[in-house]
Amino acid sequence: MYNQTEIIKDTTDLGPDGELVINMGPQHPATHGVLHLVVTLNGETIKKIEPHLGYIHRSIEKMCERLSYRQFIYVTSRMDYLSSHINNTACALLIEKGMQIEVPERAKVVRTILNELTRIASHELWIGAMAMDLGAFTPFFYAFREREMITDIMEDTCGARLTMNYIVPGGLMYDIHPNFQTKVKAFVKQFKEKVTEYEDLVTGNIIFQSRTKGVGVLTAEDAISYGCSGPVARASGVSCDMRKIAPYDAYDRVEFDEVIETAGDSFARYIVRVKEMNQSIRIIEQLIDNIPEGEFVGKTKNVLKLNKGEFYQRVETARGEFGVFIVSEGGTTPYRIKFRSPGFSNLSVLNHIAKGSKIGDLMATMGTLDLVIPDIDR
């Protein structure tokens, strides 16, 4: 048993300069999961942020090494659960590349549409969560209204709303639902009408702008040296869209712009994501009427075996560059598998860009980095 004075001495971490060390998380409303930040404060000003990881580590990479090439794809849905389709696509693409499996056109187009829908759903959730971090509760519900339509589409076609597991090596698990096209078109129509609503609520808001403009500024050099990718790097003016650099599926035949902002602050990251949603809509509009007829899955062997060697495939998730690296010994399971998750690199800049700002700025910065903790921990 401690006596009381000892406990007080223990918990009050006052450093020599009156620093206050505060544990944000693993249970904290703004860390969206079990991220643990040890924040050193001087009054309201942040002196140091130290992220502690591992609270949701499930050794997914080790798990994947024990599963066959058909099975391991489904574990990857649980990493970045907001872009599970895109994770699945990356794994499927790697196996297809390694085994030279021919993917039917229909599957390619459907995959692209689903990936873009996933990206929109992820950004929608992010808008709501970020606004909540800044203290505005209402945009969350507006964002979820549209996200709900996407999850409904996913439910019809894939049978699941979050961890879809719809993509298999060679194509799709089964054909799309008959109402897929009508539902996607209805969604596109509604999205275009309603996107202005929460843009009005958030983008134009003077408080929101003053909270995010000039906050958490990340320079292009820092973005590159920390390995940032996705909207975080693009907001700093780094061109890094995998859909443009290394097109996969049907991305080489659609027109879209890579959204790049140069300010590098939280507001730029916000603008990039909002504009990216509109680009995703543009991609979907080009493809939805042109889904080719035919097979939805290519011919594959029952037991998949990768040749001996090293394989790497990268895709663009909603958070940035997601990479799968597999070392194969020629067996039915990978010898070693490594995922390059965008969230991990994006989190690593947090201390660099939030140091010296206020606690409120930390929330704005962390919110716009769009962290998904299971993606970082794996």
Binding site: I8, H28, F137, K358, G360
Partner: protein, 358 residues
């Protein structure tokens, strides 16, 4: 029917006829205390439900709709839950101050009820320095909040209390100056005089643009003073979990929660009294017929209508705006609101001296 004037008058006359003045006064005190407590309970229930319904309406959802018709008993059920809950006191907390803090916050809210005129001749204490009393007492609640934050021995609580202290002390000034504009125009600190001066038109309409500016400043300042979004930095859910009341649970938390809503009611009631004519009906110039019809609406309905309109506005703020940062909050007050309100007060003084108002 709903005019409360006759009720108070009859009770008073009857009591003073039956008993000696001391005993009559004591009985009146007891009645008033009972009425206040009842009002608190009812206001708590109504305002919490109202907030949840307003929030739901703004956020395209339904809100509470399971307990009772339209969810009207939801707050009662929640209160029951909070009563049943164990009131934890952290081991390392300063137990005396920790347990005292919610009562101080609550007591301040209760004291503020005294000079409010709920209806014609329905007022607990028509003190001759009413407005000054309100400004003085309302700044006491920060003591309770600081006490709660300090005694919890929790870093989040401490940060929240620190923010709250800075915030309430700053915004008190703007609120005070906004109130002063009306005092300058009326020439009296007494609430009943202020209401009486608005018989032929509310100050908001009579006082030209300066009073409208003062009204806007007042609404901003009291939103900050009651720790409501976009100025809810003391609680700042996403930053400090729950700020100064992080460690409170059960009924002690409920007292903080209730005090917040009572404070909203009080500041809105004061706003309605000063700027919107209190219980005075809406009168427009020489439209005698219209004015006559308006007189038929009881004064208590007028008062509650205006107060609840202002409450709705403050709730509307909360569900629309993001939160400000702490330095922006203080900048807003010291660099913008305070100079504006000082200049505005000067302007109003000139208007009052020259007699330019209607």
């Amino acid at each position: 029917m709903l005019s409360l004037e006759s009720i108070t008058k009859t009770t008073q006359d009857w009591l003073f006829a039956k008993f000696s003045p001391e005993i009559a006064l004591t009985i009146e005190c007891v009645i008033v205390i009972l009425l206040c407590i009842t009002l608190f309970a009812v206001l708590g229930l109504v305002l919490v439900l109202l907030e949840r319904k307003v929030a739901a309406r703004i956020q395209i959802r339904l809100g509470p709709n399971r307990v009772g018709p339209g969810g009207i008993f939801q707050t009662a059920a929640d209160t029951l839950k909070l009563i049943m809950k164990e009131g934890l006191t952290p081991d390392s907390a300063d137990k005396f101050l920790f347990n005292l803090a919610p009562f101080i916050v609550m007591m301040v809210a209760m004291l503020l009820l005294a000079p409010i005129a709920f209806a014609k001749n329905f007022q607990i204490w028509d003190i001759n320095i009413g407005v000054l009393y309100i400004s003085a007492v309302s700044s006491l609640s920060v003591i309770g909040i600081l006490m709660a934050g300090w005694a919890s021995n929790n870093k989040y609580s401490l940060l929240g209390a620190m923010r709250s202290g800075a915030q309430i002390v700053s915004y008190e000034l703007s609120a005070g100056f906004a109130v002063l504009t009306i005092v300058v125009l009326t020439g009296s600190l007494r609430i009943s005089d202020i209401v009486a001066s608005q018989e032929n038109g509310w100050w908001l309409f009579k006082g030209h643009i300066p009073v409208i500016i003062a009204f806007v400043l007042y609404i901003i300042a009291v939103t900050a003073e009651t720790n409501r979004a976009p100025f809810d930095l003391a609680e700042a859910e996403s930053e400090l979990t729950a700020g100064f009341h992080t460690e409170y649970s059960g009924m002690k938390f409920a007292l903080f929660f209730l005090a917040e809503y009572i404070n909203i009611f009080i500041v809105c009631a004061i706003g309605a009294t000063l700027f919107l004519g209190g219980w005075m009906p809406l009168h427009i110039g020489h439209w005698d017929g219209f004015n006559h019809i308006m007189d038929y609406i009881p004064s208590s309905v007028w008062f509650m209508g205006k107060t609840f309109f202002l409450i709705f506005v403050i709730m509307w703020f909360r569900w629309t705006f993001p939160r400000l940062r702490v330095d922006q909050l203080l900048n807003l007050e010291w660099k913008y609101l305070l100079p504006i309100s000082l200049f505005n007060l000067l302007l109003v003084t000139v208007i009052a001296i020259m007699g330019w108002h209607f």
